[in-house]
Symmetry: D2
Amino acid sequence: MTEQTIQRIRKFTEDREWEQFHTPANLAKSISIEASELLECFQWSDEDYDLEHVKEELADVLVYCRDMLDALGLDEDDIVNAKMTKNEAKYPADKAKGSNKKYTES
Amino acid sequence: MTEQTIQRIRKFTEDREWEQFHTPANLAKSISIEASELLECFQWSDEDYDLEHVKEELADVLVYCRDMLDALGLDEDDIVNAKMTKNEAKYPADKAKGSNKKYTES
Amino acid sequence: MTEQTIQRIRKFTEDREWEQFHTPANLAKSISIEASELLECFQWSDEDYDLEHVKEELADVLVYCRDMLDALGLDEDDIVNAKMTKNEAKYPADKAKGSNKKYTES
Amino acid sequence: MTEQTIQRIRKFTEDREWEQFHTPANLAKSISIEASELLECFQWSDEDYDLEHVKEELADVLVYCRDMLDALGLDEDDIVNAKMTKNEAKYPADKAKGSNKKYTES
Protein backbone atom coordinates (compact mmCIF):
# COMPACT_ATOMS: atom_id res chain seq x y z
CA MET A 1 0.00 0.00 0.00
CA THR A 2 1.42 3.40 -0.89
CA GLU A 3 1.90 6.09 1.73
CA GLN A 4 -0.80 8.12 -0.04
CA THR A 5 -3.39 5.35 0.38
CA ILE A 6 -2.40 4.88 4.03
CA GLN A 7 -2.85 8.61 4.66
CA ARG A 8 -6.27 8.52 3.00
CA ILE A 9 -7.39 5.73 5.35
CA ARG A 10 -6.06 7.63 8.37
CA LYS A 11 -7.76 10.87 7.32
CA PHE A 12 -11.05 9.01 6.80
CA THR A 13 -10.92 7.79 10.40
CA GLU A 14 -9.79 11.13 11.85
CA ASP A 15 -12.40 13.18 9.98
CA ARG A 16 -15.12 11.02 11.55
CA GLU A 17 -13.46 10.88 14.99
CA TRP A 18 -13.62 7.09 14.82
CA GLU A 19 -10.26 6.41 16.50
CA GLN A 20 -12.21 6.01 19.76
CA PHE A 21 -13.87 2.86 18.37
CA HIS A 22 -10.63 1.42 16.96
CA THR A 23 -9.55 -0.63 19.95
CA PRO A 24 -7.51 -3.72 19.02
CA ALA A 25 -10.41 -5.97 20.10
CA ASN A 26 -12.99 -4.09 18.01
CA LEU A 27 -10.67 -4.14 15.00
CA ALA A 28 -10.08 -7.88 15.40
CA LYS A 29 -13.86 -8.36 15.31
CA SER A 30 -14.09 -6.05 12.29
CA ILE A 31 -11.39 -7.89 10.33
CA SER A 32 -13.14 -11.19 11.07
CA ILE A 33 -16.55 -9.81 10.05
CA GLU A 34 -15.22 -8.44 6.75
CA ALA A 35 -13.27 -11.65 6.07
CA SER A 36 -16.55 -13.48 6.46
CA GLU A 37 -18.25 -11.17 3.97
CA LEU A 38 -15.43 -11.99 1.57
CA LEU A 39 -16.06 -15.68 2.21
CA GLU A 40 -19.76 -15.13 1.48
CA CYS A 41 -18.79 -14.43 -2.16
CA PHE A 42 -17.89 -18.13 -2.32
CA GLN A 43 -20.64 -19.52 -0.05
CA TRP A 44 -22.35 -21.82 -2.55
CA SER A 45 -19.78 -22.03 -5.34
CA ASP A 46 -16.02 -21.88 -5.61
CA GLU A 47 -16.05 -20.74 -9.23
CA ASP A 48 -19.16 -18.64 -9.79
CA TYR A 49 -18.17 -15.47 -7.94
CA ASP A 50 -18.71 -11.75 -8.54
CA LEU A 51 -15.21 -10.27 -8.93
CA GLU A 52 -16.34 -6.71 -8.21
CA HIS A 53 -17.86 -7.85 -4.94
CA VAL A 54 -14.72 -9.81 -4.07
CA LYS A 55 -12.59 -6.72 -4.66
CA GLU A 56 -14.74 -4.63 -2.32
CA GLU A 57 -14.73 -7.16 0.50
CA LEU A 58 -10.99 -7.83 0.20
CA ALA A 59 -10.45 -4.06 0.33
CA ASP A 60 -12.52 -3.88 3.52
CA VAL A 61 -10.30 -6.51 5.14
CA LEU A 62 -7.17 -4.61 4.07
CA VAL A 63 -8.50 -1.29 5.41
CA TYR A 64 -9.27 -2.74 8.84
CA CYS A 65 -5.85 -4.46 8.89
CA ARG A 66 -4.30 -1.06 8.23
CA ASP A 67 -6.41 0.43 11.05
CA MET A 68 -5.12 -2.30 13.38
CA LEU A 69 -1.49 -1.73 12.40
CA ASP A 70 -2.06 1.96 13.23
CA ALA A 71 -3.91 1.29 16.48
CA LEU A 72 -1.02 -0.88 17.71
CA GLY A 73 1.78 1.20 16.16
CA LEU A 74 3.02 -1.74 14.11
CA ASP A 75 5.04 -1.80 10.89
CA GLU A 76 3.48 -4.09 8.29
CA ASP A 77 6.78 -5.25 6.79
CA ASP A 78 8.24 -5.96 10.21
CA ILE A 79 5.46 -8.26 11.36
CA VAL A 80 5.06 -9.98 7.99
CA ASN A 81 8.79 -10.67 7.66
CA ALA A 82 8.99 -11.98 11.23
CA LYS A 83 6.14 -14.39 10.44
CA MET A 84 7.64 -15.42 7.09
CA THR A 85 10.86 -16.38 8.89
CA LYS A 86 8.79 -18.68 11.10
CA ASN A 87 6.81 -20.08 8.15
CA GLU A 88 9.96 -20.83 6.17
CA ALA A 89 11.37 -22.79 9.10
CA LYS A 90 8.10 -24.62 9.78
CA TYR A 91 7.53 -25.71 6.17
CA PRO A 92 10.90 -26.62 4.60
CA ALA A 93 10.49 -26.31 0.83
CA ASP A 94 11.77 -29.80 0.06
CA LYS A 95 9.34 -31.50 2.44
CA ALA A 96 6.28 -29.31 1.88
CA LYS A 97 6.50 -29.22 -1.92
CA GLY A 98 3.16 -29.85 -3.57
CA SER A 99 1.46 -30.98 -0.37
CA ASN A 100 -1.23 -29.13 1.51
CA LYS A 101 -0.71 -31.27 4.57
CA LYS A 102 0.81 -29.54 7.53
CA TYR A 103 3.16 -32.41 8.16
CA THR A 104 4.75 -30.82 11.22
CA GLU A 105 1.52 -30.50 13.14
CA SER A 106 1.84 -32.03 16.53
CA MET B 1 4.17 -3.72 2.05
CA THR B 2 7.49 -3.28 0.24
CA GLU B 3 8.18 -5.01 -3.05
CA GLN B 4 10.84 -7.05 -1.28
CA THR B 5 8.34 -8.46 1.23
CA ILE B 6 5.86 -9.20 -1.56
CA GLN B 7 8.55 -11.09 -3.48
CA ARG B 8 9.41 -13.08 -0.37
CA ILE B 9 5.78 -14.19 0.02
CA ARG B 10 5.60 -15.15 -3.67
CA LYS B 11 8.84 -17.12 -3.50
CA PHE B 12 7.61 -18.96 -0.41
CA THR B 13 4.53 -20.14 -2.32
CA GLU B 14 6.43 -20.99 -5.50
CA ASP B 15 9.19 -22.94 -3.72
CA ARG B 16 6.50 -25.20 -2.19
CA GLU B 17 4.40 -25.39 -5.40
CA TRP B 18 1.40 -24.17 -3.41
CA GLU B 19 -0.10 -21.96 -6.14
CA GLN B 20 -2.32 -24.96 -7.01
CA PHE B 21 -4.09 -24.62 -3.64
CA HIS B 22 -4.43 -20.85 -3.89
CA THR B 23 -7.83 -20.67 -5.54
CA PRO B 24 -9.80 -17.54 -4.65
CA ALA B 25 -12.28 -19.66 -2.65
CA ASN B 26 -9.55 -21.42 -0.65
CA LEU B 27 -7.86 -18.11 0.07
CA ALA B 28 -11.15 -16.56 1.21
CA LYS B 29 -11.50 -19.45 3.66
CA SER B 30 -7.88 -19.00 4.75
CA ILE B 31 -8.25 -15.25 5.37
CA SER B 32 -11.38 -15.93 7.42
CA ILE B 33 -9.67 -18.70 9.42
CA GLU B 34 -6.65 -16.52 10.23
CA ALA B 35 -8.88 -13.54 11.07
CA SER B 36 -10.60 -15.79 13.56
CA GLU B 37 -7.29 -16.80 15.12
CA LEU B 38 -6.57 -13.09 15.49
CA LEU B 39 -9.97 -12.67 17.15
CA GLU B 40 -9.12 -15.53 19.50
CA CYS B 41 -6.44 -13.28 21.06
CA PHE B 42 -9.38 -11.22 22.39
CA GLN B 43 -11.84 -14.07 23.10
CA TRP B 44 -12.27 -13.52 26.83
CA SER B 45 -10.83 -10.05 27.32
CA ASP B 46 -10.53 -6.90 25.27
CA GLU B 47 -7.52 -5.61 27.18
CA ASP B 48 -5.50 -8.59 28.36
CA TYR B 49 -3.96 -9.71 25.06
CA ASP B 50 -0.57 -11.10 24.04
CA LEU B 51 0.88 -8.56 21.60
CA GLU B 52 3.38 -11.01 20.10
CA HIS B 53 0.55 -13.41 19.32
CA VAL B 54 -1.54 -10.59 17.84
CA LYS B 55 1.34 -9.60 15.57
CA GLU B 56 1.69 -13.15 14.24
CA GLU B 57 -2.00 -13.62 13.55
CA LEU B 58 -2.36 -10.21 11.91
CA ALA B 59 0.66 -11.08 9.74
CA ASP B 60 -1.04 -14.33 8.70
CA VAL B 61 -4.12 -12.38 7.57
CA LEU B 62 -1.95 -9.97 5.60
CA VAL B 63 0.01 -12.78 3.91
CA TYR B 64 -3.16 -14.52 2.73
CA CYS B 65 -4.58 -11.19 1.55
CA ARG B 66 -1.41 -10.74 -0.50
CA ASP B 67 -1.82 -14.27 -1.88
CA MET B 68 -5.39 -13.41 -2.90
CA LEU B 69 -4.34 -10.17 -4.61
CA ASP B 70 -1.81 -12.25 -6.56
CA ALA B 71 -4.23 -15.07 -7.38
CA LEU B 72 -6.70 -12.57 -8.83
CA GLY B 73 -4.10 -10.25 -10.39
CA LEU B 74 -5.32 -7.28 -8.33
CA ASP B 75 -3.52 -4.11 -7.30
CA GLU B 76 -3.91 -3.40 -3.59
CA ASP B 77 -3.98 0.40 -3.94
CA ASP B 78 -6.52 0.21 -6.76
CA ILE B 79 -9.07 -1.82 -4.84
CA VAL B 80 -8.54 0.01 -1.56
CA ASN B 81 -8.90 3.44 -3.15
CA ALA B 82 -12.02 2.36 -5.05
CA LYS B 83 -13.55 1.21 -1.75
CA MET B 84 -12.45 4.35 0.11
CA THR B 85 -14.26 6.47 -2.50
CA LYS B 86 -17.42 4.50 -1.72
CA ASN B 87 -16.88 4.73 2.06
CA GLU B 88 -16.34 8.49 1.92
CA ALA B 89 -19.63 8.91 0.05
CA LYS B 90 -21.53 6.53 2.34
CA TYR B 91 -20.33 8.10 5.59
CA PRO B 92 -20.16 11.89 5.14
CA ALA B 93 -17.76 13.23 7.76
CA ASP B 94 -20.17 15.81 9.16
CA LYS B 95 -22.94 13.28 9.74
CA ALA B 96 -20.85 10.31 10.88
CA LYS B 97 -18.60 12.24 13.25
CA GLY B 98 -18.18 10.48 16.57
CA SER B 99 -20.93 7.97 15.92
CA ASN B 100 -20.50 4.28 15.30
CA LYS B 101 -24.03 3.96 13.98
CA LYS B 102 -24.32 3.25 10.30
CA TYR B 103 -27.06 5.83 9.92
CA THR B 104 -27.53 5.23 6.19
CA GLU B 105 -28.38 1.58 6.56
CA SER B 106 -31.67 0.80 4.91
CA MET C 1 -30.46 -31.63 22.34
CA THR C 2 -31.90 -33.59 25.26
CA GLU C 3 -32.45 -31.97 28.64
CA GLN C 4 -29.75 -34.26 30.02
CA THR C 5 -27.13 -32.95 27.59
CA ILE C 6 -28.19 -29.37 28.29
CA GLN C 7 -27.78 -29.97 32.03
CA ARG C 8 -24.33 -31.45 31.46
CA ILE C 9 -23.21 -28.34 29.59
CA ARG C 10 -24.60 -26.09 32.33
CA LYS C 11 -22.91 -28.11 35.08
CA PHE C 12 -19.59 -27.95 33.20
CA THR C 13 -19.76 -24.16 33.22
CA GLU C 14 -20.95 -23.88 36.81
CA ASP C 15 -18.34 -26.28 38.20
CA ARG C 16 -15.63 -24.07 36.70
CA GLU C 17 -17.33 -20.78 37.64
CA TRP C 18 -17.13 -19.73 34.01
CA GLU C 19 -20.52 -17.97 33.84
CA GLN C 20 -18.61 -14.74 34.55
CA PHE C 21 -16.90 -15.02 31.14
CA HIS C 22 -20.09 -15.92 29.29
CA THR C 23 -21.20 -12.45 28.29
CA PRO C 24 -23.18 -12.36 25.05
CA ALA C 25 -20.29 -10.58 23.31
CA ASN C 26 -17.69 -13.14 24.45
CA LEU C 27 -19.96 -16.00 23.39
CA ALA C 28 -20.52 -14.42 19.97
CA LYS C 29 -16.74 -14.32 19.55
CA SER C 30 -16.48 -17.91 20.77
CA ILE C 31 -19.14 -19.20 18.36
CA SER C 32 -17.36 -17.43 15.50
CA ILE C 33 -13.96 -18.81 16.52
CA GLU C 34 -15.26 -22.38 16.74
CA ALA C 35 -17.17 -22.02 13.45
CA SER C 36 -13.88 -21.03 11.88
CA GLU C 37 -12.16 -24.11 13.30
CA LEU C 38 -14.93 -26.14 11.71
CA LEU C 39 -14.27 -24.34 8.43
CA GLU C 40 -10.57 -25.17 8.76
CA CYS C 41 -11.50 -28.85 8.25
CA PHE C 42 -12.35 -27.83 4.67
CA GLN C 43 -9.63 -25.20 4.13
CA TRP C 44 -7.87 -26.82 1.18
CA SER C 45 -10.39 -29.41 0.05
CA ASP C 46 -14.17 -29.76 0.06
CA GLU C 47 -14.09 -33.55 -0.04
CA ASP C 48 -11.00 -34.71 1.80
CA TYR C 49 -12.02 -33.99 5.39
CA ASP C 50 -11.54 -35.75 8.73
CA LEU C 51 -15.03 -36.64 9.95
CA GLU C 52 -13.94 -37.09 13.58
CA HIS C 53 -12.45 -33.61 13.57
CA VAL C 54 -15.59 -32.19 11.95
CA LYS C 55 -17.75 -33.75 14.66
CA GLU C 56 -15.66 -32.19 17.43
CA GLU C 57 -15.67 -28.72 15.93
CA LEU C 58 -19.40 -28.82 15.15
CA ALA C 59 -19.97 -29.91 18.76
CA ASP C 60 -17.95 -26.92 19.98
CA VAL C 61 -20.18 -24.57 17.97
CA LEU C 62 -23.30 -26.22 19.40
CA VAL C 63 -22.03 -26.02 22.98
CA TYR C 64 -21.30 -22.29 22.71
CA CYS C 65 -24.70 -21.74 21.06
CA ARG C 66 -26.29 -23.45 24.05
CA ASP C 67 -24.22 -21.24 26.39
CA MET C 68 -25.51 -18.17 24.54
CA LEU C 69 -29.14 -19.32 24.71
CA ASP C 70 -28.62 -19.72 28.47
CA ALA C 71 -26.81 -16.41 28.92
CA LEU C 72 -29.68 -14.57 27.22
CA GLY C 73 -32.49 -16.73 28.64
CA LEU C 74 -33.67 -17.75 25.19
CA ASP C 75 -35.64 -20.80 24.06
CA GLU C 76 -34.03 -22.51 21.08
CA ASP C 77 -37.29 -23.59 19.45
CA ASP C 78 -38.79 -20.13 19.87
CA ILE C 79 -36.00 -18.28 18.09
CA VAL C 80 -35.54 -20.91 15.38
CA ASN C 81 -39.26 -21.04 14.57
CA ALA C 82 -39.49 -17.25 14.48
CA LYS C 83 -36.61 -17.20 11.99
CA MET C 84 -38.05 -20.05 9.91
CA THR C 85 -41.29 -18.08 9.53
CA LYS C 86 -39.21 -15.23 8.08
CA ASN C 87 -37.20 -17.55 5.84
CA GLU C 88 -40.32 -19.21 4.47
CA ALA C 89 -41.75 -15.81 3.53
CA LYS C 90 -38.47 -14.56 2.06
CA TYR C 91 -37.85 -17.62 -0.12
CA PRO C 92 -41.18 -18.86 -1.52
CA ALA C 93 -40.71 -22.52 -2.44
CA ASP C 94 -41.96 -22.14 -6.01
CA LYS C 95 -39.55 -19.33 -6.83
CA ALA C 96 -36.50 -20.53 -4.90
CA LYS C 97 -36.66 -24.15 -6.04
CA GLY C 98 -33.27 -25.48 -7.10
CA SER C 99 -31.64 -22.06 -7.11
CA ASN C 100 -29.01 -20.83 -4.71
CA LYS C 101 -29.53 -17.26 -5.79
CA LYS C 102 -31.09 -15.01 -3.21
CA TYR C 103 -33.48 -13.55 -5.77
CA THR C 104 -35.08 -11.15 -3.31
CA GLU C 105 -31.88 -9.37 -2.39
CA SER C 106 -32.21 -5.67 -2.94
CA MET D 1 -34.64 -28.53 19.44
CA THR D 2 -37.95 -30.43 19.21
CA GLU D 3 -38.57 -33.01 16.51
CA GLN D 4 -41.24 -30.69 15.10
CA THR D 5 -38.74 -27.85 14.61
CA ILE D 6 -36.22 -30.23 13.07
CA GLN D 7 -38.87 -31.46 10.62
CA ARG D 8 -39.75 -27.88 9.71
CA ILE D 9 -36.10 -27.13 8.84
CA ARG D 10 -35.86 -30.30 6.74
CA LYS D 11 -39.09 -29.55 4.89
CA PHE D 12 -37.88 -26.00 4.16
CA THR D 13 -34.77 -27.41 2.47
CA GLU D 14 -36.62 -30.17 0.62
CA ASP D 15 -39.38 -27.90 -0.71
CA ARG D 16 -36.70 -25.70 -2.31
CA GLU D 17 -34.56 -28.64 -3.48
CA TRP D 18 -31.61 -27.12 -1.66
CA GLU D 19 -30.07 -30.41 -0.42
CA GLN D 20 -27.83 -30.24 -3.51
CA PHE D 21 -26.09 -27.14 -2.07
CA HIS D 22 -25.77 -28.58 1.42
CA THR D 23 -22.36 -30.16 1.11
CA PRO D 24 -20.43 -30.30 4.38
CA ALA D 25 -17.95 -27.70 3.05
CA ASN D 26 -20.70 -25.28 1.99
CA LEU D 27 -22.44 -25.68 5.34
CA ALA D 28 -19.17 -25.06 7.22
CA LYS D 29 -18.84 -21.80 5.27
CA SER D 30 -22.47 -20.97 6.01
CA ILE D 31 -22.15 -21.57 9.75
CA SER D 32 -19.04 -19.38 9.81
CA ILE D 33 -20.76 -16.61 7.81
CA GLU D 34 -23.81 -16.58 10.08
CA ALA D 35 -21.62 -16.72 13.21
CA SER D 36 -19.90 -13.62 11.90
CA GLU D 37 -23.23 -11.86 11.40
CA LEU D 38 -23.98 -12.69 15.03
CA LEU D 39 -20.61 -11.22 16.00
CA GLU D 40 -21.47 -8.08 14.03
CA CYS D 41 -24.19 -7.37 16.64
CA PHE D 42 -21.29 -6.73 19.05
CA GLN D 43 -18.81 -5.13 16.60
CA TRP D 44 -18.43 -1.76 18.33
CA SER D 45 -19.91 -2.44 21.74
CA ASP D 46 -20.23 -5.39 24.09
CA GLU D 47 -23.27 -4.01 25.86
CA ASP D 48 -25.26 -1.97 23.39
CA TYR D 49 -26.75 -4.75 21.25
CA ASP D 50 -30.10 -5.31 19.55
CA LEU D 51 -31.56 -8.45 21.16
CA GLU D 52 -34.01 -9.11 18.32
CA HIS D 53 -31.14 -9.05 15.84
CA VAL D 54 -29.06 -11.33 18.07
CA LYS D 55 -31.91 -13.84 18.23
CA GLU D 56 -32.23 -13.94 14.44
CA GLU D 57 -28.52 -14.42 13.82
CA LEU D 58 -28.17 -17.07 16.53
CA ALA D 59 -31.15 -18.87 14.97
CA ASP D 60 -29.39 -18.79 11.58
CA VAL D 61 -26.32 -20.45 13.10
CA LEU D 62 -28.50 -23.12 14.73
CA VAL D 63 -30.40 -23.84 11.49
CA TYR D 64 -27.20 -24.35 9.51
CA CYS D 65 -25.80 -26.53 12.31
CA ARG D 66 -28.95 -28.66 12.03
CA ASP D 67 -28.46 -28.81 8.25
CA MET D 68 -24.90 -30.02 8.79
CA LEU D 69 -25.96 -32.69 11.29
CA ASP D 70 -28.44 -33.90 8.66
CA ALA D 71 -25.98 -33.73 5.77
CA LEU D 72 -23.51 -35.90 7.71
CA GLY D 73 -26.12 -38.13 9.38
CA LEU D 74 -24.96 -37.14 12.86
CA ASP D 75 -26.81 -37.20 16.16
CA GLU D 76 -26.48 -33.91 18.04
CA ASP D 77 -26.43 -35.46 21.52
CA ASP D 78 -23.85 -38.04 20.48
CA ILE D 79 -21.30 -35.54 19.19
CA VAL D 80 -21.91 -33.01 21.97
CA ASN D 81 -21.56 -35.63 24.72
CA ALA D 82 -18.40 -37.04 23.13
CA LYS D 83 -16.91 -33.54 23.12
CA MET D 84 -18.04 -32.79 26.68
CA THR D 85 -16.23 -35.92 27.87
CA LYS D 86 -13.06 -34.50 26.30
CA ASN D 87 -13.66 -31.01 27.72
CA GLU D 88 -14.23 -32.36 31.23
CA ALA D 89 -10.91 -34.23 31.08
CA LYS D 90 -9.04 -31.27 29.58
CA TYR D 91 -10.28 -28.72 32.10
CA PRO D 92 -10.50 -30.37 35.54
CA ALA D 93 -12.95 -28.35 37.62
CA ASP D 94 -10.59 -27.81 40.54
CA LYS D 95 -7.80 -26.39 38.36
CA ALA D 96 -9.89 -24.43 35.87
CA LYS D 97 -12.19 -22.82 38.43
CA GLY D 98 -12.65 -19.13 37.83
CA SER D 99 -9.85 -18.87 35.30
CA ASN D 100 -10.26 -18.24 31.60
CA LYS D 101 -6.73 -19.38 30.91
CA LYS D 102 -6.39 -22.62 29.05
CA TYR D 103 -3.73 -23.84 31.44
CA THR D 104 -3.13 -27.07 29.55
CA GLU D 105 -2.17 -25.38 26.32
CA SER D 106 1.23 -26.49 25.19
